[in-house]
């Protein structure tokens, strides 16, 4: 559950605070768990909501930059994952602006559709799509840069 919170948070401290709030909410409202789905799924949803709540109180959920969708040529997934570790990937997500980060997380990790994201965040579906697209552009660039840096280091060594 900490990983869930980490993906939404700006830092580990924030993630732990979200985790704490999430657990307290879960314990308080355990009676509402209907035993229909998995408990993990229910708890994960609570953690996501706790993380979103924290972000809502801190920042507004709209993009702050306009990005041009450029075509970025990436190495294969396996090559990238062999070079870039979990912490680096997490850091890249955390570096995204909250609006992009939330939409990216909800779409990619939670498997929500744009319509569901739009309802959840009270934004338009278009905004959701736009944010996701922007998040992807940013992440592509950053992954490429990071990958190149890592490879340079390896080649120097």
């Amino acid at each position: 559950m900490l990983m869930v919170c980490l993906r939404y948070a700006n830092s580990r401290e924030e993630a732990e605070e979200s985790l704490q709030e999430g657990f307290i909410n879960a314990f308080t409202h355990i009676k509402k768990f209907r035993q229909e789905g998995s408990f993990e799924g229910w708890l994960r949803k609570i953690m996501v909501n706790a993380s979103l709540q924290r972000l809502r109180t801190k920042s507004k959920l709209y993009p702050v930059v306009d990005l041009v969708d450029e075509e970025v040529n990436l190495a294969s997934k396996e090559e990238i994952l062999s070079s870039i570790g979990t912490k680096d990937l997490l850091k890249l997500i955390q570096n995204l602006s909250p609006a992009y980060r939330i939409v990216f997380n909800l779409y990619v990790f939670e498997g929500l559709k744009h319509r569901e994201i739009a309802e959840m965040l009270k934004i338009s579906e278009g905004t959701s799509k736009s944010n996701l697209s922007d998040a992807r552009v940013i992440l592509q660039k950053q992954v490429k840069e990071l990958y190149e840096i890592k490879n340079e280091k390896i080649s120097i060594l």
């Binding site: 704490q20 314990f27 355990i30 979990t86 990937l89 990619v108």
Partner: protein
């Protein structure tokens, strides 16, 4: 997850989705602290709620008691006021009673009227009627004691008016010749010319004393002629009434009167203006007591509360206890004292002994330090935590485990209930509903188990310090009293008892005992 993800999505999904990380210990501490605060608040709220329920029940009980006592006092004072000397304007004089004017025709007429009246017994309306008469108006009235409404005015007459009261009975009389079948007597056995007739009771009773009317609920004015004519049937008891006493009066519409069972002419007034008779107040039996030896079979259902902290050890324990414990049918017996405050309301208290037995399925137990720091096997059950120290074998270390085979836990309580009961009387069966509270005092506990210790070792009479010495429970139920006789009835009642306070003082596991009882008892009127 979506199938058609962007390559960058897949990189992040594969790189992060399955990864795990552990929060710092400080995070867990913070969660525990927050939960403890929440738990404390929750329990405080629950405790306050329970306190409120108890207060409301006690207030309800107090209200019912006060209402009943007031009702009784009101009835008493009504009788006193009506019959108080202050209301009497004149000192009653003597009355002349004579049977000289009696004639067989009149007698037949009265018999006929009385007969028609008595036949209508079942139709009679239950009203309290007082006697009232005025000499000036020379008329008598039957007045409702409660509403003071005149129910029936007697004919105006120039003749002196004699007051009398009728004691209206529930008991009906046979159709045929009701008066002739009955005897008449007077309560005043000291009548003579020197002792003026101040109060005389003349009653009609059946010769065969099998259906002697007992309940006297209503009073009405009766025409003295009835008394006069009825005196034809006087027996030895009435002989002291001198024949020169002349009872003159009016003949009311007797068949409009309610049921007559007995006639009580009280004060006879001649040449007086107004007279309301002084009469001894009729005191209703205020409180009737009954004792009820009873026996109950209980199905026990402990509700275990662990502050809802799923995922922690407490929740694990709660689940383990809930799943492994089976309550046996327990027994409760004792004696209760019931006080009937009114026809419908009664309160009950008493003393009961109850045994609560549970069997616990086999489980693995591990060694921990007890409260004194000694390492023993720890066994958690709904009553609390038992620390088991095997008599044989090597010294235990923390973390050692063994198998506990079947275990039994027996708790013994003395219970003192306070119950308010509301009942409806339908023939031989009294239906009642009850609500109350009870205090349960722990008088004994015994835990025994068999553990695997190279061989099976049986450990008996283990105690836990987690049990409270007393806990409170609420009681609700319905039932019936089947009246075998006037003083004896059989009671049957399903009763639900629920803990208001937990039976144990453990911080981690709180057990609330709920039980459903089938109770049978014998109600004996005192």
């Amino acid at each position: 997850m979506k199938k058609n993800l962007h390559p960058i999505d897949e990189i992040f999904l594969d790189g992060l989705a399955e990864k795990q990380d552990q929060p710092s210990l400080a995070t867990w501490d913070a969660i525990e602290k927050s939960l403890d605060k929440n738990i404390a608040y929750t329990f405080k709220q629950k405790y306050i709620q329970q306190q409120r329920i108890i207060i409301v029940l006690l207030l309800l009980l107090a209200f019912v008691s006060i209402y009943t006592i007031n009702s009784y006092k009101k009835n008493y004072s009504n009788n006193s006021v009506i019959n108080s000397p202050a209301v009497t304007n004149k000192t009653p004089n003597t009355v002349k009673i004579s049977d000289e004017n009696s004639s067989s025709n009149k007698l037949k007429s009265i018999e006929k009227k009385a007969s028609s009246l008595l036949i209508n017994t079942s139709k009679s309306k239950k009203v309290d009627v007082i006697a009232a008469t005025t000499q000036t108006e020379k008329a008598a009235s039957i007045v409702d004691a409660k509403t003071r409404k005149v129910l029936h005015s007697l004919k105006k007459t120039n003749k002196p008016i004699v007051e009398a009261t009728l004691k209206i009975e529930k008991q009906s009389y046979p159709k045929e010749n009701p008066i002739a079948d009955n005897t008449i007597y007077t309560s005043n056995k000291n009548l003579n010319s020197k002792n003026p007739l101040k109060e005389t009771t003349v009653a009609i009773e059946r010769k065969k004393n099998t259906e002697k009317p007992t309940t006297k609920t209503k009073i009405a004015t009766i025409d003295p002629e009835v008394f006069n004519e009825a005196s034809h049937f006087q027996m030895e008891q009435i002989e002291s009434i001198k024949t020169n006493r002349n009872l003159n009066g009016i003949i009311p519409e007797i068949n409009q009167l309610p049921l007559i069972a007995s006639i009580t002419p009280i004060v006879k007034v001649e040449n007086t203006s107004t007279s309301i008779v002084e009469q001894k107040p009729k005191i209703k039996t205020p409180i009737r007591f009954s004792i009820i030896p009873n026996l109950s079979l209980n199905t026990l259902n402990p509700r275990i509360v662990t502050d809802e902290d799923l995922g922690t050890r407490r929740e694990y324990l709660r689940k383990q206890i809930t799943e492994s414990e089976n309550a046996k049918i327990g027994i409760t017996f004792g004696i209760a004292l019931e006080a009937s405050l009114s026809k419908r309301i009664s309160i009950e208290s008493g003393i009961n002994y109850s045994e609560k037995n549970t069997t616990i399925k086999p489980r693995t137990i591990s060694a921990e330090r007890d409260r004194e720091g000694k390492v023993k096997y720890r066994f958690d059950c709904s009553a609390g935590t038992y620390y088991i120290d095997p008599k044989l074998g090597t010294t235990l270390s923390v973390g050692d485990s063994t198998k506990s085979f079947s275990a039994n836990n027996k708790l013994q309580y003395i219970n003192t209930p306070l119950i308010a009961r509301y009942q409806l009387v339908t023939g031989k069966i009294n239906w009642f509903q009850m609500v109350g509270v009870g205090a349960n005092v722990l008088v004994g506990q015994s835990f025994e188990t068999n553990i695997e210790n190279n061989y099976t070792e049986k450990l008996k009479n283990l105690k836990t310090s987690d049990l409270k010495k007393m806990y409170f429970n609420g009681i609700v139920g319905v039932g019936i009293d089947y009246n075998i006789s006037k003083r004896l009835s059989i009671r049957m009642a399903p009763i639900y008892r629920f803990s208001i306070t937990p039976m144990n003082k453990s911080e981690s596991i709180k057990t609330y005992l709920h039980s459903f009882s089938a109770t049978a008892g014998l109600k004996i009127g005192l």
